[in-house]
C-alpha cells in the first residue's frame, strides 16, 4: 500500500505521519508537495496537522487553494481515500470536501492532551478494525476544533452514520464534560457521503507506539490497510 503525505508550507505533523507509516506500519510513503498536481499513484492521501500558511487568516483557508488541493478533490471524487488530521481536517472543511466549519475552542486556548473517543460507526474504511462503542485514547492538539454545522447538515451526518468519532468519558459516555472544545454533538471526526474522505481532530499518529503512551491510533491505520487489502 502506498501513502502520500501532503506537505503545505506550515504543515508540522507531516514527518510524524511519515514516520508512523514508514517505521510502524512499514508501508510505502512519499511526501506530496503542495504544488504537485498528480496524486493518482497513491492508495491513500494524508493531510497532516500543523499551521498551513500560519493559519493566519482562518485555519486551512489558504491551503485549500494550493494546486495540490484540486488534485486531492479529483482523487476524492473518484473514491480515493483521503484522511485529514487536525489542520488537514480544517483544510478539508474549507475545501468543501467535508461539510461544516471550525470555531475556536470554547476555552479560547490551545489544548494538547489525550482524549477519549467513542467509535460511532465501525463499518468505514477508517474504523473497520474497531467495534461500535469502542473507546480510543488519542491526543488532540488544536486551537480551533470546535466543530459546527447547520441543523440540516448535522441531521444528515447523523442519519447517514457519518459521525465517526465523538469525544466521550473513559467509559464511553458522551457528555458535555467530556467535550474538550465545544464541538457540536461532541463531534471529533466525520466522513463525506462516500465515506472515502475522513476528517478528525485527534492525532492517530501520536498514539501509534506504546513508548508514546497509547497505540489506540493504530486502530485507524489498521482499518485503512484492511480496507485496502480487502479491496485489493
Amino acid at each position: 500500500m502506498k501513502f502520500g503525505v501532503v506537505v503545505f508550507p506550515g504543515s508540522n505533523c507531516e514527518m510524524d505521519c511519515y514516520h508512523v507509516i514508514d517505521k510502524v506500519l512499514r508501508e510505502e510513503v512519499d511526501y506530496v508537495w503542495h504544488q504537485e498536481t498528480d496524486v493518482s499513484r497513491y492508495d491513500c492521501l494524508v493531510l497532516p496537522g500543523g499551521f498551513s500558511y500560519g493559519d493566519y487568516l482562518r485555519c486551512g483557508a489558504i491551503a485549500r487553494f494550493s494546486p495540490v488541493m484540486e488534485a486531492v478533490a479529483d482523487y476524492a471524487r473518484e473514491g480515493g481515500l483521503v484522511i485529514g488530521i487536525c489542520n488537514g481536517f480544517q483544510i478539508l472543511l474549507e475545501a468543501g470536501l467535508l461539510p461544516g466549519a471550525m470555531l475556536r475552542n470554547t476555552c479560547l486556548h490551545f489544548i494538547c492532551r489525550f482524549v477519549d473517543l467513542r467509535v460511532e460507526n465501525a463499518s468505514t474504511p477508517w474504523t473497520n478494525a474497531a467495534a461500535v462503542g469502542q473507546v480510543l485514547r488519542i491526543p488532540i492538539a488544536h486551537n480551533e476544533g470546535n466543530y459546527t454545522a447547520d441543523a440540516e447538515t448535522l441531521r444528515e451526518l447523523r442519519e447517514q452514520g457519518r459521525i465517526i468519532l465523538r469525544y466521550c468519558a473513559p467509559d464511553g459516555t458522551v457528555s458535555e464534560e467530556a467535550n474538550p472544545n465545544g464541538a457540536m454533538d461532541n463531534i471529533a471526526g466525520i466522513c463525506n457521503e462516500g465515506f472515502n474522505v475522513f476528517g478528525l481532530m485527534p492525532h492517530p499518529e501520536r498514539a501509534s507506539e506504546a513508548l508514546l503512551g497509547s497505540t489506540d491510533g493504530m486502530v485507524i491505520w489498521e482499518s485503512i490497510m484492511a480496507h485496502y487489502r480487502g479491496k485489493g
Binding site: 482562518r58 483557508a61 466549519a101 470555531l103 475552542n105 476555552c107 479560547l108 459546527t148 447547520d150
Partner: protein, 80 residues
C-alpha cells in the same frame, strides 16, 4: 482605492471569543452590554480598477477566501 472588509461571526453561530469578552465586560460593571461579536477588519488597496468593478471583485474575494460563509458574514466598504 482603499477597500475595507469587515468579517464577523454569523448570527446564530457561537462566538467563543465574543462570549468570553461579554463575560469580562459584565464583570467590569458594563451591565448595558448584551452581546459581543468579535470579527476581523481587513483593508485592501486596489489598483487599476473602477469602484463598481471593485465592489464585485471584493465580494468574490470574500466569498472565496476572506470569509467562510458557513460561519461568517462580511461587509465591504469602498473609499471612493
Amino acid at each position: 482605492m482603499k477597500v475595507s472588509v469587515f468579517v464577523s461571526p454569523k448570527q446564530g453561530v457561537l462566538d467563543p471569543a465574543g462570549q468570553a469578552t461579554l463575560g469580562s465586560l459584565k464583570s467590569l460593571g458594563f451591565d448595558e452590554v448584551s452581546d459581543v461579536r468579535i470579527g476581523k477588519y481587513i483593508t485592501l488597496r486596489l489598483e487599476g480598477i473602477d469602484a463598481d468593478q471593485a465592489e464585485e471583485r471584493v465580494r468574490e474575494m470574500c466569498e472565496r477566501l476572506l470569509a467562510n460563509p458557513i460561519i461568517e458574514d462580511f461587509r465591504v466598504e469602498i473609499e471612493r
